[in-house]
């Protein structure tokens, strides 16, 4: 296997508050291979967006990385000085946010924003940068780019804006693109267009993608592997087909069962009792145990780590020997 583009090792993100320290991310580790699309799913509060923000060094103070490491092509980037991180951001890691209207500056023409990004990260001249901006707009499927390049963001529709944001993210040929809910603000017909575009572009540019979303359908269509997050931890990570068709972790099973489907019988949905715990009250042991239908002896006291199981990795005592009885139980 080639060296991963991105490696997270035991990443921990904390937010100090007046009422004590909240741990938003607790021991998250995964790799993304070159050209791979890793989906990161979870419900609100699972820590998926914070994971993305931690990689790109954009955690809002007082939040901070309290432990672990982030490696980009083997280089540690979580402890870099702000100036050095700024050179990586945009150049080596592109970012696509949920709402295209807030990630574009409403006061500047699309072309100006693209040229600025291109010139910050390359040595191109003004005219060459504009030419590159035009070719990027053509590539992301903006009709009549020669006239549209001088438009302002408000003159674009939602889908077109997200295409411009994709062009911005890819302007400096990054090795990794972090897409945080790129289609959540869009209608379903436009969502399909943007997903197809994201996939094609990243494939053509050889960029790896960390696709953060709450929508399993989007993951199923786009990702190669998927990491399921719960309460700031990775519950299960594996090839997308295995995780969707044969989930191992009880949380993943419940999550898959709770999604209404377009095919099959419309019987009762599986429901997971309760709700995602608040960060102030993360349960001991396995964070999922109070909601888990299969929790047993070790779950409330001992925290399971990710262990290989079939083609995936899963953090659940059902699949590994648990520490209460010293003997091997599988």
């Amino acid at each position: 296997m080639t060296d991963p583009v991105l490696s997270l090792r035991n990443l921990r993100v904390e937010f100090p508050t007046r009422r004590g320290t909240l741990t938003a991310i607790d021991g998250v580790s995964f790799d993304i291979a070159p050209g791979e699309v890793l989906g990161v799913v979870g419900e609100s509060g699972a820590g998926k967006s914070i994971t993305g923000a931690a990689v790109i060094g954009l955690i809002e103070p007082p939040g901070h990385i309290a432990g672990g490491a982030v490696y980009l092509r083997g280089q540690r980037i979580d402890n870099l000085a702000p100036e050095a991180m700024r050179k990586i951001r945009g150049k080596r890691i592109g970012m696509v946010f949920q709402d295209p209207l807030t990630s574009l500056n409403p006061l500047y023409r699309i072309g100006e924003q693209l040229v600025e990004t291109i010139k910050t990260h390359t040595t191109l001249s003004d005219s060459a940068a504009r030419k590159k901006a035009l070719s990027l707009l053509t590539e992301v499927g903006i009709p009549a780019p020669e006239t549209r390049i001088d438009n302002y963001p408000h003159q674009f529709s939602g889908g077109m804006r997200q295409r411009v944001v994709l062009a911005l993210a890819l302007a400096a040929e990054p090795e990794l693109v972090i897409a945080d809910e790129p289609t959540t603000a869009l209608d379903v017909s436009v969502q399909a267009q943007i997903i197809a575009l994201l996939k094609r572009l990243c494939h053509q540019h050889g960029a790896a993608v960390m696709l953060i979303t709450h929508d399993m359908g989007v993951i199923a269509e786009t990702a190669d592997r998927v990491a399921v997050m719960y309460a700031g931890r990775v519950a299960e990570i594996g090839p997308v087909r295995d995780v969707i068709k044969a989930p191992l972790h009880p949380y993943t099973k419940g999550l898959m069962g709770s999604i209404p489907s377009l095919t099959g019988e419309s019987e009762r949905l599986t429901q997971i009792p309760g709700a995602m715990p608040r960060l102030t009250a993360i349960p001991s042991g396995c964070a999922f145990h109070p909601r888990c239908p299969r929790s047993f002896v070790p779950c409330a006291t001992f925290r399971p780590e990710l262990q290989p199981e079939q083609k995936s990795q899963v953090a659940c005592w059902l699949y590994q020997p648990y520490p209460v009885t010293a003997g091997a139980v599988t």
Binding site: D187, V188, Q193, D215, A220, S261, L269, Q271
Partner: protein
């Protein structure tokens, strides 16, 4: 489910209709202020949010409206409950018009029997009221209980009915999670013992596992209390799970009305086909999707003829000039020239 028969699907086959929506339309004036119009010589700008919307809902049935943003589904929902007045058409609920002045006395009695659940439980509950008072408001407003103890008892029953603890009544909305808040909103809707509940995107603001809880709860309540739902959503999978009949809206008009099963097995209108095709595939069948071109046009200047024609692969000259009428096609009612002419 019953067999496919040649009856228009905009009306259910049973005669026991609770809600009849007849040619409902609403035009919003989105012009600039008068002075700007005079100075800039700008014309009035009218937005047709809904036009010619006709359907009926039988007792104990769930009728769903689906469509993308700007298709007018929420506008129709608000007109059905009487929150906004229609520009044309009428809503008849159990024989009483929701908008005819002549029916105002009967309408006052009818009001108790209609309730609404909104999309965002963070916005639809007063943050300064306790859950008890929120749920008790319809009981007090309609005078359905005598004395404070009876109100508290009724609220306790309602909270238990939606899966909360009666003791939760003392809490404020911010102390609840999103799913619990939507349960409170449902309890409030049930407080006046309604027969008909309009649900406008009731689970769109919720996570999937919580959405499953709320959808299951709504179906259980329907079975137990014999409720009739008008269910508004943009999520086709949710609609398929909940509804017995479905209306698909595009730019303010119903393009297709069909029994749920028929809509998903044999979608007829090109827009319905496109919508179904665009939903991400969770079954990993690896089917090749042809991405749809374009986006929903601006409703201020909708395309002439059939509003869908610029995005439609089957459009011809007639589609560009003549607006299609809603005609029966199999179990469905479809407004499409191509379907009418048998081209698709």
């Amino acid at each position: 489910m019953s067999a496919v028969v040649d009856a228009p699907a905009s009306a259910p086959r049973t005669a026991d209709l609770l809600v009849e929506v007849q040619g409902l339309g609403r035009i919003f004036d989105v012009s600039k202020p008068w002075l700007n119009r005079v100075i800039e010589h700008a014309p009035r700008r009218l937005l047709t949010a809904a036009a010619d919307v006709t359907f009926a809902i039988a007792r104990r049935e769930t009728f769903a409206l689906v469509g993308e943003s700007g298709s007018g589904k929420s506008t129709v929902a608000k007109m059905v409950v009487g929150l906004i007045a229609p520009t044309s058409g009428d809503v008849i609920i159990d024989g009483v018009s929701m908008h005819d002045l002549k029916h105002s006395a009967q309408r006052r009695i009818l009001r108790r029997r209609i309730q609404m659940v909104f999309q965002d439980p963070y916005a639809s509950l007063n943050p300064r009221w306790r859950a008890l008072d929120i749920v008790a408001e319809p009981i007090r407003a309609f005078g359905l209980a005598h004395g404070a103890t009876e109100v508290v008892a009724q609220v306790g029953d309602l909270l238990r009915l939606v899966g909360l603890d009666p003791a939760d009544g003392a809490k404020y909305p911010h102390e609840f999670s999103g799913g619990q808040r939507q349960r409170i909103a449902i309890a409030r809707a049930l407080a006046s013992k309604p027969e008909f509940i309009v649900c406008d995107e009731p689970t769109s603001a919720l996570d999937v596992s919580v959405q499953a809880q709320i959808l299951n709860l709504m179906r259980d309540l329907q079975d137990r209390l014999g409720l009739t739902y008008l269910f508004i959503s943009h999520n086709l999978a949710v609609v398929r799970h909940m509804a017995s009949r479905i209306g698909v809206m595009y730019l303010g008009r119903l393009v297709e009305v069909a029994p749920a099963r028929a809509l998903f097995s044999t979608p007829r209108h090109p827009y319905t086909r496109m919508l179904l095709d665009a939903v991400p595939d969770l079954d990993l069948t690896g089917r090749q999707r042809k991405p749809v071109e374009g986006e929903v046009p601006n409703p201020v200047n909708p395309p002439p003829g059939c509003a869908f024609h610029p995005r439609c692969p089957f459009a011809n000259a007639r589609c560009r000039t003549e607006r299609p009428l809603a005609l029966p096609a199999g179990a469905a009612t479809v407004a499409c020239h191509a379907v009418e002419e048998g081209r698709i």
